[in-house]
């Protein structure tokens, strides 16, 4: 290896295509009570929701931006368009009726194909609104509800939404939670009744097409006692030269002895500020499994949180973060053990390359009453060159002596010896490095359904691609 790997610009063209937004309906740039009122009116909110939005806006104006993470100076809220409705928007459950360019977008991303093959239901959001939502009849017959929040607000589940919406992530949580409360639009509502076990996953795909816009989808999932659900979310956007913002919110309620697996492959374009909040509350004997692959965005703040509220409840968090050129990805997780005999397992991998910054941040709290609880945190980082950076900031707050807590962190580089070994079997240096990185990210890869594992692997190959010379 007399040569060194040099990195060319990444070809993201398969995600970068975009369509005209001329005919879309948009609110003005920026954030004022008038704009929030306008969004509320467009969405035909019930009164409580309109008031909730306005109250959230007030909170937003009172809370300062966080001063501890990556810089978000490039994000100017006065120029973000908070609501963009695709032209002729009407949520469809027949794919043929979705407008052509939107349909093309999702076809290229493989969404309808995936639905036909291996999913129990699919939702697709384009800019601020859902354009397609469908569940298989066999799933609907079991009483499973999968719809957009707007419809649910006016249907038989209106009270359920009212009782859960932003109760786990209140607008006072942080500035962007407040922003979300004010301008949220789209997303999904899922209810899985008691004892119902879904054999196939449900999926939502979020696509942000409009330049300089924000996406603020809200995902609310309630898995009732003894039920099982695997929910998959995917997201992408074409690249623009101005900042886009994603401030979604995910609230998961997991009943007694129920399990929810929540998988994400995030591939926002590299002008995106991804300030997303995800939180799960787990009742007695229940379990949340977070599987997360973060590849895109310019700046990310992402720390899914599990509140282990019931005795014996569990949380597993498995993630991989890949920060390339110009990316500052601050990711990790939080766990609150608030009941006895709870357990949490955290296994993360982060990769940084071409000057990318990857920070792992975790916070595990074991409350005084959470006796007999266990927590194990393991984070590994791989730096692919000398200009990249990787930090690990684990925090633990243990209030009882009756707890078993472990933490392990490793930071490393690709070993020349392993590259030589792989090359001695006929692989080019580039392929050898890509294979090592794929293997490193295998903690997530082996947890994903095959098609998604393949997609993630393709993203890694894409990031690793470069000319040797």
């Amino acid at each position: 290896m007399k040569e060194k790997t040099q990195v060319a610009d990444i070809d993201r063209s398969m995600y970068d295509f975009r369509y005209s937004e001329d005919d879309a309906y948009k609110v003005d740039e920026g954030l004022t009570p008038e704009i929030v009122e306008q969004i509320s009116k467009e969405k035909n909110d019930p009164d409580w929701m309109r008031e909730f939005r306005l109250k959230s806006l007030e909170i937003y104006n009172q809370i300062p931006v966080p001063n501890w993470g990556p810089s978000i100076e490039g994000l100017d809220m006065d120029h973000i368009v908070t609501y963009v409705r695709p032209k002729d928007n009407k949520m469809e459950n027949d794919w043929d009726n979705v407008p052509t360019d939107i349909k093309d977008t999702f076809e290229k991303l493989g969404i309808p194909q995936a639905e036909r093959k291996s999913l129990a239901g699919v939702g697709a959001q384009y800019d601020s609104e859902l354009v397609y939502h469908n569940v298989k009849d066999s799933v609907a017959e079991k009483g499973v509800v999968y719809t957009d929040i707007e419809s649910a607000l006016h249907g038989p589940y209106a009270d359920m939404i009212h009782d859960h919406f932003m109760k786990l992530v209140p607008p006072t949580d942080h500035k962007f939670a407040a922003l979300h409360g004010a301008v949220w639009s789209g997303g999904s509502f899922v209810y899985v009744p008691k004892g119902v076990h879904l054999d196939f996953p449900l999926q939502s795909y979020f696509r942000l097409n409009a330049k300089g816009a924000g996406q603020f989808e809200h995902t609310l999932i309630i898995v009732d006692d003894d039920a099982y659900l695997h929910f998959i979310e995917g997201c992408s956007a074409p690249k623009y030269n101005v900042a886009n913002l994603h401030a979604g919110c995910v609230e998961l309620f997991i009943g007694k002895n129920a399990t929810l697996r929540y998988s994400t492959i995030e591939n926002w374009s590299k002008n995106m500020y991804n300030l997303n909040t995800k939180r799960a509350r787990v009742d007695e004997g229940g379990k949340v499994e977070w599987i997360s692959g973060s590849f895109g965005s310019h700046v990310s703040y992402l720390y899914p949180m599990s509140v282990l509220a019931g005795k014996g409840s569990r949380s597993e968090f498995t993630s991989v973060t890949f920060a390339g050129k110009g990316q500052n990805l601050d990711t990790g997780c939080k766990v609150v053990h608030a009941a006895p005999d709870t357990s949490s397992y955290v296994n993360t991998r982060s990769i940084s390359k071409d000057g990318g910054i990857s920070t792992f941040r975790s916070a595990v709290t074991i409350a005084e009453n959470a006796t007999g609880s266990k927590s194990s945190v393991s984070c590994q980082s791989l730096m692919l060159d000398d200009i990249s950076r990787s930090d690990t900031i684990p925090a633990m707050d243990i209030r009882t002596s009756d707890a078993d807590v472990g933490h392990e962190a490793k930071i490393g580089r690709i070993s020349d010896e392993v590259v030589f070994y792989l090359m001695s079997r006929g692989m080019s240096e580039e392929d050898a490095r890509a294979l090592i990185v794929s293997g490193f990210a295998d903690n997530v890869g082996k947890e994903l359904p095959l098609e998604y594992a393949v997609e993630m692997n393709n993203l890694i190959q894409l990031e690793m691609k470069g000319a040797i010379g």
Binding site: F420, G426, M427, D431, L435, F440, A441
Partner: protein, 252 residues
């Protein structure tokens, strides 16, 4: 018989130091022949094997390596491998997250440039694993991760049998193995001779691994030089009397 490998006056230094390890090696291996490279510790045996494979820890400062009529002296490791040389490592590294099956399939597809159907590949792989007395579950395990010394060496021979090179360099493949494991590895090498018919350059301290093979030529390397060459009987001689005779005669 034409030579598959020709090494001419090869001088090798460490990549980032001026220390010369090999001081002009000449060595020819005929197609399909079995050669044994022996010598005391620190003689440069492994350095020779690794240098032929293009190991970046070493720098070839003089001489030539010709394989199958093509000069490969300064080629990169992947090109050397694709040309048809395989090396079984003395200490195979762990590759986390990459299964034995996936790895070998990727390597074979890379070499042949042809897509292999997963089912056909697995059938072939499991058949070969049986020859090596490997449990089929190893196919799904991460390559070399948590493998014992013997399992790692078997995994090397498994790759040899699947990749079918024209020349295999076995670097201390028998070291640290118990009698049974040596027997299994030997059976794998015999299988390679039988099915692929390629040449072998076996770097070894011991002779057990050679018992079932017909050795064509023996080379003795000491202090970075080939100091003696002979036929198969030389192996037995060294086995009984050690290297001393050869070392002394080279000094006089």
């Amino acid at each position: 018989m034409s030579d598959i490998l020709q090494v001419k006056g090869l001088k090798v230094k460490l990549a980032d130091e001026d220390t010369e390890i090999l001081h002009g090696i000449d060595l020819n291996v005929g197609a399909g022949e079995v050669h044994v490279l022996m010598g005391p510790n620190g003689a440069g045996k492994s350095t020779l094997g690794s240098s032929l494979m293009g190991d970046p820890r070493y720098r070839i400062t003089d001489g030539k390596v010709i394989f199958d009529g093509q000069e490969i002296t300064h080629e990169t490791t992947d090109k050397i491998a694709k040309a048809g040389i395989f090396m079984s490592f003395q200490n195979p590294v762990e590759v986390p997250g990459v299964s034995v099956a996936n790895f070998i399939r990727t390597a074979v597809e890379n070499k042949t440039g042809e897509h292999i159907k997963a089912w056909d590949f697995m059938k072939d792989l499991k058949k070969t694993m049986r020859v090596l007395d490997m449990d089929p579950s190893y196919a799904e395990r991460d390559l070399n991760v948590g493998f014992s010394g013997g399992e790692k060496k078997k995994a090397e021979i498994l790759q040899l049998l699947m990749l079918k090179p024209q020349l295999a360099i076995l670097d201390e493949t028998d070291s640290g193995l118990d009698v049974d494991a040596v027997r299994t590895v030997s059976a794998g090498i015999e299988e390679y001779k039988k099915t692929v018919g390629g040449a072998l350059l076996i770097i070894t301290h011991a002779t057990r691994i050679l018992e079932s093979l017909k050795v064509d030529k023996t080379h003795i390397l000491a202090d970075g030089r080939i100091i003696a060459e002979g036929d198969a009987s030389m192996v037995d001689d060294i086995n009984e009397n050690g290297f001393e005779k050869y070392l002394n005669s080279s000094k006089s």
